[in-house]
Symmetry: C2
Subunit: 339 residues, 2 copies
């Protein structure tokens, strides 16, 4: 008699997928120039500067899990999604390396960012190498042309989202030149959603899914990305630094055009907020006023709406039941982090 | 009666190929985020900072010409090679943008480098966007998987060559840790040869060539790249700054491990050269000693040998006569620049 098993939790799903993908990811990184491989290994948390082995926290591994689950949702073995998983983790790491340079972020996962640890030039190079390796990984896997097309479209969106995000910094808080909620959504979809959607869609394609199914997974991933970014924005203002690993008020100090701020600015209760946002050292007051003006609630409402859309897309698509259940579990876990 | 026409000169070949490729290149760049497209246009010499049209010198367009001639050498119309030409020009420009950051080169083609004109972060982003666009261009063209595989292999070599070049700077002039001629060749093949070889091979594949022909063109391009780099090294020490656009003694001031220096250091006539190379302001003396120790002659001899190998590879391959003749013409032109 088999005992009835509880469905796996999101951390269990992430752990299982990581176990499936890690050997291939390490093998791919091992083919890089040794110096570049060390920088990549440092980013993944596998080693320290100089190459000594480490077990530093890497990322959550969301993207690789989406690829594995995408393949399983298409009815294939999770192993079919591994080339997609490797490619999207490489692209994600490439984008973190380069984004940290662009944003001047000196810390990543509680360690010096690669550009701080190795220098800006080497960090640019390591990112380029990971990018090239991701493309090579897909191009040499089955259905190369189709999967590379999906990846390059996501890359174009990712760059476009990052460009918008950088340009948002030059825009005013109010007036006709202000950043609108629509522009925010488009930026978040590009910067965060495109690769999440691509991860799931690529896995599905490698698992033999038709275009409709891959497209539904892509769109679900994009909505998940927007929800993820919205939650990130909330955590960036009100999150516990001990949990988020980010400094208190960092996003406010950097005058980022995050959604809670944009939503609050639209409210009559936010009188005086633009001045507060521009005043150094008054981040705590600004955070309180954003909250009072409804910025936090608006962001969380939006996040829930995008999560619901993603969930609806998943239930409407013809997916294998077990994998679909794990995708939803992952979705709820990510959209509900520490709130 | 048709007058007998002289075969076109290398500049005529370059001009004809440029005319064929430019509309597609401009169309591709036009699909980028407007800000990124401006940085790309600035790099290509099409506009000034701010977007005002310009006709600044772009590159020579060697890579796009190799793709067009590769397609013609395979018996196809040159237009068949255009997607390859667009992709390799985008990759070349991406690598210039990022290399200028890594090498700290503030000037490119007599104008401020993109990172100087727009900032380091934006230049990183623009490079990434061009890279992604190159991959997309090939993935959506015929034979996507095969051509993307060729491109990603060249990209891996390019990054490996750039990594070696950066690490050469940390090595001593003499002793067991010195940079050997073999290591130099491998670096130059990766950094300069891989993309030239790939350009011709991609064009040939799109023109319908078999694997053997594409491979011969790839190898010829790699030898051309090594020759090109050797000539660049000579010009970097003894070239006329008014012609090269590079400052006198720049390579020596940056203590680059160029071939003339490495070759001279192997000669007993180079006594005292390491000390001279490390002494600021003594570049003219160093250049004279490198010359006296045979460094310039050795580099030019090597360049001629690699050009001859490239020419031999081209004559042994089953190429369309007219295109093959133009490839050789281009080869001789590039390897014989201003010497």
């Amino acid at each position: 008699m088999t005992a009835v098993q509880a469905p796996p939790s999101a951390p269990e799903v992430l752990g299982r997928c990581r176990g499936l993908v890690q050997p291939a990811l390490r093998e791919a990184v091992g083919r890089l120039h040794p110096w570049v491989a060390e920088m990549a290994g440092y980013s993944f948390g596998w080693c320290e500067v100089g190459g000594a082995p480490a077990a530093a926290p890497g990322g959550k591994g969301v993207r690789q899990a989406l690829s594995v689950l995408g393949a399983e949702a298409a009815g294939a073995d999770g192993a079919a999604g591994v080339p997609a998983a490797v490619a999207v983790e490489l692209v994600h790491t490439f984008s973190l390396l380069h984004d940290d340079i662009m944003d001047g972020d000196a810390t990543r996962r509680r360690r010096p960012a690669v550009w701080k640890a190795y220098g800006t030039g080497p960090a640019v190079l390591a990112g380029d190498a990971l990018f090239a390796l991701a493309v090579e990984t897909l191009a040499t896997a089955p259905q190369g042309a189709g999967t590379v097309r999906l990846l390059s479209a996501a890359l174009a969106d990712l760059v476009r989202g990052q460009a918008d995000d950088l340009l948002f910094a030059t825009r005013p808080w109010t007036g006709p030149e202000r950043v609108t909620a629509d522009e925010y959504r488009s930026m978040a979809e590009g910067k965060t959603g495109a690769l999440l959607g691509c991860a799931a869609a690529l896995g599905a394609v490698l698992g033999g899914a038709g275009e409709g199914t891959a497209d539904a997974l892509d769109r679900a991933g994009r909505h998940l990305g927007i929800a993820f970014q919205l939650v990130d924005d909330v955590l960036g203002i009100w999150g516990d630094p001990a949990v988020t690993g980010k400094p208190v008020g960092g996003d406010l100090r950097q005058r980022k055009k995050t959604y809670p701020v944009l939503a609050a600015l639209d409210s009559p209760a936010a009188r005086g907020l633009p001045e507060l946002l521009d005043a150094p050292g008054r981040e705590a007051e600004a955070a309180a006023l954003i909250d009072a003006a409804g910025g936090r609630t608006a962001a969380l409402t939006q996040a829930r709406a995008h999560t619901a859309t993603a969930r609806a897309l998943l239930s409407a698509a013809p997916l294998a039941t077990e994998a679909a259940g794990q995708l939803v579990q992952l979705l709820d876990h990510l959209a509900g982090r520490q709130l």
